[in-house]
Amino acid sequence: MTIRDGALAVLAADPEIRQAFARTSLGDRSVLGTALDRDNSVMMTTKGSPNDALWACFIRHGWMEEAPVDAELQAVMPQAVRCSLTEQGRRAIPVILPILFAETGE
């Protein structure tokens, strides 16, 4: 199965991705584009946020992984969630992003 076919199969099988993406703002989504564009990028959000829901989907499919939150950040921001892209995600997410953007009229 090609990377594209694999990514499309995941998108078709997991309706939560579309639902979570639809709840994100343009600002939320811009984080993904920036992360894809940069090496070693780590993204941060808060538990329960739209991005947290979307990233949880991506983690489920091996496209992202949770990164540790250091104690200092944890102390001032207990709800912090940090995530980074996996190699698989760096290939799969660019496949589905244009589709999700098109579906949400962006």
Binding site: I3, R91, P94
Partner: protein, 224 residues
């Protein structure tokens, strides 16, 4: 204390180097691209894309702004309409504008990506073909593939630039990218060669020859 008569080793070189180059941020580069491309007569809709593509290259360590500057300064004897054509005014083929050519190549990428593994689509080489590479990245990402631009010198494939949507890899000397005599495009066969190590953007500013910036600005002023 201040009576030193001899310039410490390296200081003169460093001073000369400082005069010879200017530090440009990626935003500076975008502005120069927009101003110069506008002066050359490219349509307004085209400018932001041109800037984004040059920026894509420079942020990943590829000499996109050099290629762009060479493109603006070279071929000035031709009109933009002539630059858009694969045929030169003297009847020869190749040397056309790579940024306009990228649009044309974009329509052929489905066919090129569908070629058997290892087969390269040869094409009349545009001038400064590096400027086509971001278009390959734009195609590769949504299709989940890696595209490969091959730069030939003396008929030999010397340097390959690989791109997925956001990342690049370079195999071979960088000099061949700007000095290529031939250019080919293909899909990188991951199924036989494995996944290459690609890198995303990590560069925010570059040192660029001051003469290049000066020539580009003179070109803009002369175009008014």
């Amino acid at each position: 204390m201040f009576g030193r008569r001899v310039t410490p080793p390296g200081q003169r070189e460093r001073a000369e180097q400082a005069l010879d180059s200017v530090a440009l941020s990626l935003d500076d580069i975008s502005r120069y691209v927009v101003v110069a491309a506008r002066a050359r007569g490219y349509p307004e809709d085209f400018l932001a894309n041109a800037a984004r593509r040059v920026r894509f290259l420079e942020a990943r360590g590829l000499p996109g702004f050099t290629a762009f500057t060479l493109e603006m300064l070279g071929g000035r004897s031709e009109t933009l309409q002539q630059r858009a054509s694969v045929t030169r005014p003297d009847g020869s083929s190749g040397g056309q504008c790579p940024m306009i050519d990228a649009v044309r190549i974009g329509d052929k990428l489905d066919m090129i990506a569908g070629l058997p593994a290892g087969q390269v689509a040869a094409y009349p080489m545009p001038s400064n073909p590096l400027l086509v590479v971001p278009k390959l990245a734009e195609y590769a990402g949504p299709n989940g593939i890696i595209m490969m631009a091959t730069f030939y010198v003396g008929g030999d494939p010397v340097t390959r630039v690989l791109v997925d949507g956001h990342r690049v890899a370079v195999d071979g000397p960088y000099e061949a990218i700007l000095g290529a005599e031939g250019f080919g495009i293909s899909r990188f066969p991951e199924e036989t060669h494995g996944a290459p190590a690609l890198w995303a953007a990590s560069i925010d500013s570059i040192d660029f020859p001051a003469r290049g910036v000066s020539s580009l600005m003179k070109f803009v002023e002369d175009s008014r």
